[in-house]
Amino acid sequence: MNLTVHAPILAIAVPLLGAFALPLWGKLGRSLRDLWLLLVAAATAALVALVAVQVYTTGIQVYTLGAAWPRDTLAPGGFPIRIILAVDALGAFMGLIATLVALVGFAYAARYLAEEEGKTLALTLGTLLWAGMLGMAFTGDLFNLFVFFEVTSIAACGLVGYRTWTSRGPEAAFKTMVLYTVGGLFFLLAIALLYGEYGALNLAHLARLLRGSTVDRVALALLLGGLLMKVGAVPVHMWAPDAYGEAPAHGVVLLVANTQVSLYALFRILFTLYGGLSDPGVGWLVVGMGALTLLVASLMAVVQMDLGRLVAFGAVSQIGFMLLGVGVGLTTVASRPGYGLLALRGGIFHMLNDALAIGLLFLAVGAVERAAGGRNLGSLGGLGHNLKWTSGFFFLGALALAGIPPLNGFASKLMIYQGSFLLSPILSALAILASILLLAVFVRAFQGAFLGPRLGKPDPVPVPMLIAMGALALGVLFLGLFPDLVVRHLVTPAADALWTGREVYLQAVLGR
């Protein structure tokens, strides 16, 4: 067995097997379960890293399930009918983000979750969510994108409703489930339309066939609508603050990664599937959604009194930045590739930066909630006296998210500001305004929760949770100090894969 060739499917199958077997190990004993999870997580991380190295050094990896050999993508008629995985630089980049977040989340969960709450189930759902995210990132097939979309939806809703003993947890899970299901149905309907018209489901094959008919446009609208619901862009964002506020902290970071992987699916559809039909109207639509999202969400963050919901609105506003960057890229890349690619790179780099910064903030909020027993800014205060590390991490994450140099949020936001300035200076101004609002919000939150007189004696934060936060904080610092390194080696190939790499992607799958 050639591990390198099989790595893309193994990276999905191993966590899937791990998730299914985890409750069985849990019945035998807790230490066996933890050992199994460690094994599965280490193996998956190694496989994803192997895939990423392969993709970045040798190009797109294609894998055909059930064929006589992995590169055998075409059926005798000359078109692809099997389940095909196609991992290009962007897919590998998303796989890396999901893996990084999952590893940090599991390290954090080791001491964050209590056994009697149902820790085994939370770990199972987390592993399943991880497998689903990797599937979404690696698949080259529209229908399997939907299948993994649903896998992540179900696992995510399970995590949101994890705190069954509260009334708000299941309520948030129900709200999330409704939005995810409606989004999934939109997606399925679009797939049915495209399949009815062309009789094909493979992304590359469909991309060659699309003619831009009215049905194609309707399908695009449905795909956009369905994915924007999953992403949490503003008119359909109402599940996000509830879900981020109620899910356990290790699940929230996975949910954030999940929205980003859904965003990736959106970009894959806009650029790879519909890239042949250039329509600036679609780009403007994405830009508009992005601008609306970042502005409305940061304004909503101002009025929040619950620390979890406050950070959640911050997370929603960051989705706006990514949509703005990639929307600007979509609008301008055909006419002015220099600016378009800069905005694209900014949007994609911001995914990584956001995963680290907002992940750090959510983990810090989880630590605060556990230590102080609540999240209401009205009753918190003076936690900085005892929780020195946690307050430091929160401060770092807040500054990074608000885009203060020399932290990582600044690096990618500057690229987005520059790219969108060309399209319209108003967009840059709006984005900067949202950043300033976020800074004000986080300064207030930091002051309210961590500064001031000592109000009580909080419980100490367990070391594994601090290590998990420390790993993200190191990432925030590293990406902020050496953004050039990451942009050149990881982000640029990923952004180029969307636009200039489209033809390469199609050829890798179709062979012509």
């Binding site: 199958a13 299914f20 077997a21 409750p23």
Partner: protein
């Protein structure tokens, strides 16, 4: 429930299980398969609950959830069988063993002993669905309040 319902349920539970098993077993030949057959078989659990009340199904929760996990594990393991070629490669098809008879060319009624890894995969999915749906029904009964018929 009344004695009529209970008597009919005693007759129908084996029938539902048998029909579910039939749909799963013929999944590679006829419409249906693991999911549909599993849902039919899981309706037996619902029937037990309706006819005999919560106490009759309470003990099924743990075995059903183990069955669900085993079904999921079995499915992925069956996928790994083909890893010498590719994941999901049908190594049993045409091998002459169980489910390995070569498929007859031309129109035919369909032979059960074909399909390779597909029938075992249908069974894996079937067990997962019986376990999953059955456990959901049992959980509804356990958390459904005091209405114990």
């Amino acid at each position: 429930m009344s004695v009529v319902v209970r008597t009919i349920a005693r007759i129908l539970v084996p029938v539902a299980l048998l029909f579910g098993g039939y749909v799963i077993l013929h999944g590679h030949l006829t419409p249906g398969g693991g999911f549909q057959g599993g849902a039919v078989a899981a309706s037996a659990v619902a029937l037990l609950l309706v006819a005999f009340g919560t106490s009759a199904v309470k003990g099924l929760k743990s075995p059903l959830s183990v069955l669900e996990d085993l079904g999921g594990v079995a499915f992925v393991v069956l996928g790994f069988l083909g890893i010498g070629y590719t994941f999901f490669f049908n190594v049993l098809a045409g091998s002459g063993g169980l489910f390995g008879a070569p498929v007859a060319p031309g129109p035919n009624p369909g032979y059960l002993n074909t399909g390779g890894t597909l029938p075992p995969m249908n069974w894996a999915v079937g067990f997962k669905v019986i376990g999953g749906l059955g456990a959901v029904v049992v959980l509804f009964a356990l958390f459904g309040g005091g209405d114990d018929r």
